[in-house]
């Protein structure tokens, strides 16, 4: 009795779709939406960390007027030569401040620096959690309802977007997530600018340069080690230039502003390349020292593109690129169709079973049906209480439960009938029937439950939903059959005893 009330009360919010109270949320396969598993390319994060260290060594050397030569990095190893042995101690103190470095100095004052293995692992780990944070920030600003971004395992990220309605929206969201938004300010190598179309990548690397494409089809040769990167951007907004073209203006933090100011003061007459995701957007001439730490990116953006770039810059760069490992996208109309179809199957199966039970068992069938209906309410109530998600396989699980939930009652009823046929009195037959059936019900259901638990542990997404509904269904059916219907019989016993009509009550002669 208690269980009926419990079931009905807690399932009301779900059934009536009220706004308050806990209810079951629909899985992406039923309401439509996008599920993705993304893999973070963590090796890139390590390379980029090395690059950042190289940048700070470069800045330090220039700031302190220490002469170093051949500063470069390859295969995650930085190497350079200090020209003056008196400066060694200064360099060493500076390097000691950076944690997790493996520094080797040979006799000719050449340094080889790499990351310690623990630091590599830490960097990779940090990259994934930072990517989660970044993607979450971006999606929040994109204005989608309830995006889910969670880390899964070592380097994977699960992204779930229930609010996606159209293919275009989905693509926009994916583009936003995948944008590395890696902003770099780089020095154009003016000494070799005229050779930009003749040098090969390898030749450029010998000078410590790289050749980058620009968004308007030109090429630039720039110093490999950037002056600044996007980690020092504190804000980015869409603005418009004199020609009313959308641009992105950004603000650097104080240390970024200092580096930027120092560099521009030193490099008047040279060009500064503004590089976003490996592409040069503009390379203005430096006419004077630029203080205040403000800059802008221009280069033929549409307003929407500029907006997305600004969001991406604000929410930080992805520490490494992400790859699509798995994607499941379901349109809302397909989800609605699935709900319709499985509802139909549920109701029809339900009606069939109910009619069959009454035909076969008479009033005992009605009792079993009460248990069955209670069962469904309990499943819905428990799922709502735990905020479980209903998926399409989950719906199939409920349908299946309808067929299997009567099982415990069938076992009991068959036992009772058997004892009645042997001429046992009704109260005793009911008591013994229940106790005889008990062991079988327990053993049979526990094994099914074990399999369901394994399915939950190894299943993914929608399949987990199936395991959940099946498990709750099994537990609920044991509860209603063993306690629920037993109680009903005990209450009805005086009546059954009086009528003595076995056909009416148990469907036997």
């Amino acid at each position: 009795m208690l269980s009926i009330i419990f079931g009905v009360v807690f399932s009301i919010p779900t059934l009536l779709q009220t706004d308050s109270g806990k209810k079951i949320s629909l899985g992406l396969d039923l309401q439509g939406g996008l599920h993705m598993l993304l893999g973070v390319q963590t090796d890139e994060a390590v390379t980029s960390k090395i690059k950042t260290i190289a940048t700070s060594i470069k800045y330090f050397a220039e700031d302190e007027d220490i002469l170093i030569e051949d500063l470069s990095f390859k295969d995650d190893i930085i190497s350079f030569i200090v020209l003056d042995s008196d400066e060694i101690s200064k360099v060493d103190t500076m390097l000691a401040e950076i944690q997790g470095l493996d520094v080797q100095i040979s006799e000719d004052l050449s340094y080889t620096i790499s990351l310690q293995p623990a630091q590599v692992a830490l960097t990779k780990d940090l990259a994934v959690s930072q990517a989660v944070e970044t993607i979450r920030n971006r999606l929040d600003q994109f204005g989608l309802s309830e995006p889910t971004v969670i880390r899964q395992g070592k380097e994977d990220i699960v992204v779930e977007l229930p609010g996606i309605k159209t293919a275009a929206e989905e693509k926009a969201a994916r583009e936003l997530i995948s944008k590395p938004a890696h902003l770099e300010l780089m020095e154009v190598d003016e000494d070799r600018a005229d050779q930009v179309y003749t040098l090969s990548a390898n030749q450029a690397a010998e000078y410590g340069d790289i050749i980058l494409d620009s968004n308007d089809g030109n090429k630039y040769i720039v110093k490999e080690i950037p002056i600044l990167d996007g980690s020092q951007v504190t804000d980015a907004q869409v603005a418009f230039d004199q020609a009313n073209q959308p641009i992105i203006s950004f603000v650097l933090n104080s240390s970024g502003a200092k580096i930027f100011g120092d560099f521009t003061a030193r490099s008047v007459g040279k060009r500064l390349a503004i590089v976003l995701d490996g592409k040069v957007y503009s390379a203005p001439n430096i006419n004077e020292r630029i203080g205040g730490g403000r800059g802008q990116i221009s280069g033929g953006f549409t307003v929407v593109e500029a907006g997305n770039v600004a969001i991406a810059l604000r929410s930080g760069a992805l520490p490494a690129s992400v790859k699509l490992l798995e994607k499941r996208s379901v349109g809302p109309s397909l989800g609605a169709d699935s709900i319709e179809a499985s509802k139909m199957a549920l109701i029809l199966g339900f009606v069939l079973v109910i009619i069959f039970m009454v035909l076969y068992y008479g009033l005992a069938g009605v009792v079993a049906n009460v248990a069955l209906i209670t069962n469904i309410f309990i499943i819905i109530a428990v799922m709502a209480m735990f905020g479980a998600t209903l998926t399409l396989p989950g719906m199939a699980g409920i349908v299946l439960t309808v067929g299997m939930a009567v099982d415990a009652n069938v076992i009991i009823n068959e036992r009772v009938r058997e004892l009645l046929r042997q001429g046992m009195s009704i109260p005793k037959a009911i008591e013994d029937g229940y106790s005889n059936a008990m062991r079988a019900i327990l053993d049979a259901n526990i094994t099914t439950l074990l399999v369901a638990v394994i399915l939950y542990a190894y299943g993914t997404g929608p399949i987990k939903g199936f395991a959940v509904t099946i498990s709750i269904g099994i537990l609920a059916s044991m509860l209603t059959a063993i306690l629920g219907t037993h109680g009903i019989y005990e209450t009805l016993l005086p009546k059954i005893n009086k009528s003595k009509n076995l056909r009416k009550w148990f469907g036997i002669k």
């Binding site: 699509l324 139909m344 199957a345 199966g349 309808v402 069938v410």
Partner: protein, 329 residues
């Protein structure tokens, strides 16, 4: 009224001699098993994208889907040359299966395909599933683990609650059911995805459920009945549980068939597998599982001796505890 007869379809007092016919039934099962295995080894399973990796795109047109036209368009490309196009549920709706997948997040294979189809009419892309090779491999591994672990857990639990021969017999019965279900899946070229794995595991649980009800009766019969020939005890137990086995299977069958007919195209494979599983599972619980038990030479007398010993040990324990409690009080 007609339903008097329905209401007592199974007279529980009649004992059918199942065990006398166990060899023909086992031979029949053996034949079906061999046929299933042959199918599995020659035709094999049609792995869907969950396990094999790949891409499926479900497209709904606002009129009959121009399959030939779509095929012509796709055959002109390098990327989609080997894709298959099949009708899905209704003539308006199709599924395009592509063996490859793409890892580029910004522009994935679904976007490319969508732009290719522009010339073929008015349509809506309703579903795009992409499973990369890494994920496919992981899912395959996980699936096998789940299946293996389930069997192991069942073996342990049934050994613990019954006796090892019961456990081995029930595992035999389960392997029998699963093999035949897989054979049917192979025969009808059902796409094997995660939902099919879920169906297989459910069959496992379901068929085991049936088998255990029968075994429970045998266990009870061995403990209570005066008969000491195993065949007789088994016959009696299987006959007694016949009504229950058939009834529960019938109600489950009802709901699964409604799921199969009305549940929509996406759970078709799942419902199909369940349908096969229920039929085979019921058959094996009645005719096969107990036959294995008899074949394994389960000894009634030995079991009784063991049970008696267990009881004796329990009694001694209780006595000890009682003495201990009295001593301390």
């Amino acid at each position: 009224m007609v339903w008097y007869k329905i209401m007592e379809l199974f007279k529980t007092d009649t004992v059918y001699n199942f065990m006398a016919k166990r060899l023909p039934f086992m031979a029949l099962s053996g034949l079906i098993l061999i046929a299933s295995l042959t199918l599995l080894f020659t035709k094999g399973l049609n792995f869907g994208i969950d396990f094999a990796g790949g891409t499926i795109v479900q497209v709904k047109y606002d009129q009959k889907a121009p399959i030939d036209k779509i095929r012509a368009v796709l055959n002109n490309t390098v990327e989609f040359k080997n894709s298959t196009i099949t009708e899905f549920g209704s003539p308006e709706e199709i599924i395009i299966r592509i063996t490859g997948s793409s890892s580029d997040l910004a522009t994935d294979i679904g976007d490319t395909l969508s732009s290719l189809l522009v010339t073929t009419g008015k349509y809506e892309i309703r579903r795009v599933d992409i499973v990369g090779p890494k994920v496919g491999g992981e899912l395959r591994e996980k699936g096998l683990m789940a299946l293996g672990l389930s069997l192991l857990v069942i073996l342990i639990y049934v050994s613990f609650r019954f006796e090892w021969r019961f456990a081995v017999a029930s595992i035999f019965a389960l392997v029998h059911d699963v093999t035949i279900a897989l054979g049917m899946i192979s025969l009808f070229a059902v796409d094997v995805n995660l939902d099919i794995l879920a169906a297989i595991l459910t069959i496992l649980g379901y068929s085991l459920n049936d088998t255990i009800i029968v075994f429970d009766r045998i266990r009870e019969g061995v403990q209570k009945s005066h008969k000491s020939v195993l065949e007789d005890v088994v016959n009696e137990s299987v006959s007694r549980t016949l009504s229950r086995t058939t009834l529960t299977s019938l109600t489950t069958f009802f709901v699964v068939i409604t799921l199969f007919i009305f549940g929509g195209e996406i759970i078709h494979g799942f419902a199909f597998t369940m349908l096969v599983g229920i039929v085979v599972g019921t058959y094996s619980s009645i005719f096969i599982a107990a036959s294995f038990l008899v074949q394994l030479k389960f000894s009634v007398a030995n079991f009784r001796v063991k049970e008696a010993e267990k009881l004796k040990r329990q009694k001694e324990k209780d006595k000890m505890r009682a003495m201990y409690e009295q001593g301390t009080v």
